[in-house]
Structure formats: structure tokens, C-alpha cells
């Protein structure tokens, strides 16, 4: 009797586990699902009517902009009936690579001038990129900050499991800059491949702390607790935005960039934790 119960119980547990895992994966893959959305812009191009906007505007934006840009996209569609904003969120470096590779997009907003330079150097931008927000680093700790982390120096305690972004990605480069500026030596347990992966390790309570962007801590809600540190002032990322040369819908692209830079757009972005330029 008990034996049969146990036998059926175990596969169920395994199945439940699999479902959880699948959910987790689909949640994180949705941010960089680009190829399916960026093909519709070409058909609906209209440049003749300058005051009456219509058609689709395709925006490639850094993953950290996901929450705020989605909100702005809805506002844009409401203000200009007949338009549609499609986004492709992902790592700035891979987005830049796909733009130089010929991906059809109207606007590019990246998380660092370095990744923007990939696009401008290739001659794919129209005009000069403008910095529209800045992002600062913050320490993400477990909810309630059980390890009482109050400064960047606290992270160097050997009892703590700290994850950083890899030095090849912007958030890792920024964290290294802040550590170098304060002459601290920090040995993490892992160099994660992007900022969301670093944050996830804290959300899952596998790591005690991570150095991520302020906006990521904000977006994670109460799953992590943010700790500001003064050294982050030495490593602030500028976010540039630009209209692309091959834009199919230049009028709408210009209008979207204007919205991002407007007082209304800046309000949405600062609420998400971004700093004004």
C-alpha cells in the first residue's frame, strides 16, 4: 500500500519539477526573442504623412529597458492611434551585432556607449546618438538583508557568496571599475554571463549578493533587497538612443525617440530607477 503510494508520488514530483523549470526558462527567454517580431515593419512604412503617424515602429533596446520601454510603447500607441511599437529586448552587444548584420529596426537604445559605437562605426546610425538615461550599480541582497551588507567592502567577506557579471558584459565591467576605484579585491563565486543571470542567482537564494543595476533591483520587486553604495558613482552607464539609417518608418521613429526624451518619458524611466542624463 505504502509502496504504491511512494511509487506514484515520485514521478509526480519529478513532473512538477520539470514544469517549474520550463516556466522559469520561458520567462527568461521571452526577453531576447527577437527574430519573430522584427519582420513586420517594412510592409507598413509611410513617410508621406508627417503629422499623421501610422504603421509599425521597431525598437531594439537593452534588456534593462524592458519594463519602462514596454510602458512607453503603450503610451505611444495610445497617443498615436494606428501605430504599433514592437520591441526586441536583449543584450546590447548582441542587438548591436544583429543591427550591423542587417536586422530591420528603426530605433536602437543600448546600455553603453561602447555597444552603441558598434552600430555608429558601421555607419548604420542616422545622426548622433543621444544619452537619454543613466544607470547606476546597486548591491542586490536576499530579502531582509540577513547578512547585513551595508557597503561594497562588506561583499569581500569570505563567508559571503557573491556573484558578479562577467567582465565582458557592461555590468561586469562597471562593477570592476567600482571595485578598482575603491581598491577592493573581491573574489566572487561566479562570473555570470549577463546581469539577469546574476540577479537570478540571488532571487533563487543560491548567492548571498550580486552587483547589478539599480533598475534590475527595482524590477525584481521584493524578491531581492537593494543596497546602494557610494562607489557606484564611479561606474555609471550612459544609455544612448539613435534612429537607424535603414529605418522604414522614420517619422514614427523620430516621434518615439522624442517621447523617450520628453518629460513624460523621463518620468517613466526615473520611476523604474534610471537616473536622468
Amino acid at each position: 500500500m505504502t509502496r504504491t503510494a511512494r511509487r506514484t508520488g515520485r514521478p509526480m514530483q519529478v513532473a512538477a519539477l520539470g514544469v517549474t523549470a520550463l516556466l522559469a526558462l520561458s520567462a527568461c527567454s521571452s526577453s531576447d526573442d527577437s527574430s519573430s517580431t522584427d519582420s513586420g515593419s517594412s510592409a507598413s512604412a509611410s513617410t508621406s504623412a508627417s503629422d499623421q503617424l501610422s504603421g509599425t515602429v521597431t525598437v531594439f533596446a537593452a534588456a534593462s529597458l524592458k519594463e519602462s520601454f514596454t510602458t512607453l510603447g503603450k503610451e505611444f500607441e495610445k497617443a498615436h492611434p494606428g501605430t504599433k511599437v514592437t520591441f526586441s529586448f536583449g543584450g546590447s552587444d548582441s542587438l548591436a551585432a544583429s543591427i550591423t548584420g542587417g536586422a530591420p529596426a528603426d530605433v536602437f537604445a543600448s546600455a553603453s556607449p561602447k555597444t552603441m559605437a558598434i552600430v555608429t562605426d558601421a555607419g548604420d546610425a542616422s545622426g548622433t546618438p543621444a544619452t537619454f538615461v543613466r544607470n547606476q550599480l546597486e548591491i542586490a541582497t536576499l530579502p531582509g538583508n540577513p547578512d547585513k551588507i551595508a557597503s561594497l567592502k562588506d561583499l569581500t567577506k569570505s563567508s559571503l557568496k557573491v556573484v558578479l557579471c562577467d567582465k565582458t558584459v557592461p555590468c561586469g565591467a562597471a562593477a570592476q571599475k567600482a571595485l578598482d576605484a575603491s581598491k577592493l579585491k573581491l573574489t566572487p563565486v561566479s562570473y555570470e554571463q549577463d546581469v539577469k543571470a546574476a540577479l537570478t542567482k540571488v532571487e533563487l537564494k543560491e548567492a548571498d549578493a550580486a552587483v547589478v543595476y539599480k533598475t534590475d533591483v527595482h524590477a525584481a520587486g521584493d524578491k531581492v533587497e537593494g543596497v546602494e553604495f557610494p562607489e557606484s558613482a564611479d561606474a555609471i552607464n550612459d544609455y544612448p538612443i539613435v534612429q537607424l539609417k535603414d529605418a522604414q518608418n522614420t517619422a514614427a521613429a523620430k516621434a518615439f525617440i522624442a517621447l523617450v526624451q520628453s518629460a513624460e518619458g523621463q518620468k517613466v524611466l526615473t520611476e523604474a530607477g534610471f537616473l536622468q542624463p
Binding site: V189, Y191, Q193, A207
Partner: protein, 286 residues
């Protein structure tokens, strides 16, 4: 199976003549185009990327790229972890395969499906599942942590766990297939002569299925060597501790594609070396 041997055999046969020559000629002339063309496309598809890797390799700066301590660290870690994962798979996987092949019990089909699930599961999902089970906060990992003070994520042992999770099904499937093909009457004969079931397994079955075990172990080892998704998700990425070659290749690709190509070449060389080293055993086993 081996084309080169057949061709040299054909050359010898042309001189000698006879029945085999006719068969060989039929082989060459009788291949229908609808089969030959897709087959050649298939060959090109599989081989061209490897050639491209060689063509684009930064041969001049290669010695410098490959002598860095980081590369050797990653390569050594990869080899050690893949071998450890294969050992774990052998210790657990062979008995499991025997259970699936030789013991009748209800739910065997379901068990087999579950055991081989990591074969089709995206490795990243495997990594997440491992975190849920064996992470510091996982359903098993919590106990491991509080009772023994053992945490697996971010450790070399974690890499071995992740690789074994992904690679073991290859071994189980291979060994189970060999067991099913092996004649159970040998074991029955051993039993009638007074051997216990375990002795029969050790003295009769094991030598009988050794080629299958070897083939499965090679498959599992190769899979573990190339494992990326589960490793980076479960064990993280830290040079010398959890950064295996595939992780090093991926991260190098973001900043330094030339280094990534160089690292890929090392993995390619290791794979070719293993295939070449095992060729004889592999072919006779197949």
C-alpha cells in the same frame, strides 16, 4: 560501415575479379541520385563549419592564445570533470540499465522515459531543475546544507553533477540496448550452475556487454565534455573552479572572437583525438 576499407578492398578485388567485384561496382553505380544528392548535402552541412573553423583560425597568434594559463586551466577542468561525470554515470548507470533491461516491474516504461528525459531536455532547463533540487535552497540541497554543510552550486563537484545529469542517459540507453541484445540464456545457464544473480551479472553479463558499456561511456564522456547550459546555470562560471572549455568559448566570443576560435580548435582537437584513439574499439564494437 567503413568506406575507406571497402574502397581499398575494391581495388584489390578488381585485380582478382570474382563475385565481390560485381558487388562493389553495383555499390558505386547503383546509388540513386535522390539519395546521393541529399547525402552529399548532409556531408557538406556537417563538415563545412569545421573547415570554416580551421580557415578562420588565427594561426599566427594561436601559440600565444593557447599557452595562456586560463586556457589550460579550463581544458584541465573540462577533462577532469567529464571523466568524473563518466565515472559517476558508470557506477550508477550500468546497474540502472540492468534494472531496466532485466527486471519486470510495473511502471518500467514510465521509469525509462523519466530516466532518459535529460536526453531531450534543454540543458538549461536541466540546470534550473538541478538548482531546484540540489541548490542551497533546493528540496534536497537544503538538507545537504544543514546536515553536512555541503552546497553544490558554484563548486567543481557541481560541474560534475551537472555533466553527469546530462550525460548519464546516453550511457544508460547504450548499455540497456546492449543488454537487450545479449542473450539472457547465458545468465540462466550460469544460474543453473549455481551462480547467484549478482555473480552471473559480474562474471557473465558484464564481460558480454563490455563493448556496449565502452561505447556508452565514450558517448557520455563526449557529451559531458561539451556540456554548457546545465553547467553555467547550476555551477556558475569561475576560472579554475567551474569554468570549463565551452563556458570559456562562449564568454570569449562576446569580447574576443579570435580567442573563442582558438579555444574551439582545442576542443575540436580533443574530440578528434578521442575518436581516433577509440576508433578500433569503436568500430569492432559497433
Amino acid at each position: 560501415m567503413t568506406v575507406p576499407t571497402d574502397r581499398s578492398g575494391a581495388a584489390a578485388d578488381t585485380i582478382r575479379g570474382g563475385l565481390r567485384r560485381r558487388r562493389v561496382r553495383a555499390q558505386v553505380r547503383g546509388v540513386p541520385l535522390p539519395l546521393l544528392v541529399p547525402a552529399l548535402i548532409g556531408v557538406a552541412f556537417l563538415v563545412v563549419p569545421l573547415i570554416a573553423l580551421l580557415v578562420r583560425a588565427p594561426w599566427r597568434s594561436l601559440p600565444e592564445l593557447l599557452t595562456s594559463a586560463e586556457v589550460w586551466q579550463a581544458l584541465r577542468l573540462s577533462l577532469v570533470c567529464a571523466t568524473a561525470a563518466t565515472a559517476v554515470s558508470l557506477v550508477v548507470g550500468v546497474p540502472l540499465a540492468w534494472l531496466l533491461a532485466r527486471v519486470e516491474f510495473p511502471g518500467r516504461g514510465l521509469l525509462r522515459a523519466l530516466v532518459t528525459l535529460p536526453l531531450v531536455l534543454p540543458p538549461v532547463v536541466g540546470g534550473v531543475a538541478l538548482l531546484m533540487a540540489l541548490g542551497r535552497n533546493g528540496i534536497v540541497g537544503k538538507t545537504l546544507d544543514s546536515w553536512f554543510g555541503v552546497t553544490l552550486p558554484f563548486t567543481t563537484a557541481g560541474v560534475v553533477v551537472a555533466e553527469a545529469f546530462v550525460a548519464m542517459p546516453f550511457l544508460v540507453i547504450s548499455v540497456e540496448g546492449t543488454l537487450r541484445a545479449a542473450d539472457p540464456r547465458y545468465e540462466e545457464a550460469a544460474a543453473t550452475l549455481g551462480a547467484s544473480r549478482f555473480t552471473a551479472f559480474r562474471r557473465v553479463t558484464l564481460p558480454l556487454i563490455a563493448p556496449g558499456i565502452a561505447a556508452g561511456a565514450v558517448l557520455a564522456w563526449a557529451r559531458a565534455l561539451g556540456e554548457f547550459g546545465a553547467t553555467i546555470t547550476f555551477a556558475g562560471n569561475f576560472p579554475g573552479r567551474t569554468q570549463t572549455m565551452p563556458l570559456a568559448v562562449y564568454l570569449a566570443l562576446q569580447s574576443d572572437p579570435e580567442a573563442a576560435i582558438a579555444l574551439s580548435l582545442v576542443l575540436l582537437a580533443v574530440s578528434v583525438a578521442v575518436l581516433a584513439g577509440l576508433r578500433d574499439r569503436w568500430m569492432t564494437a559497433g
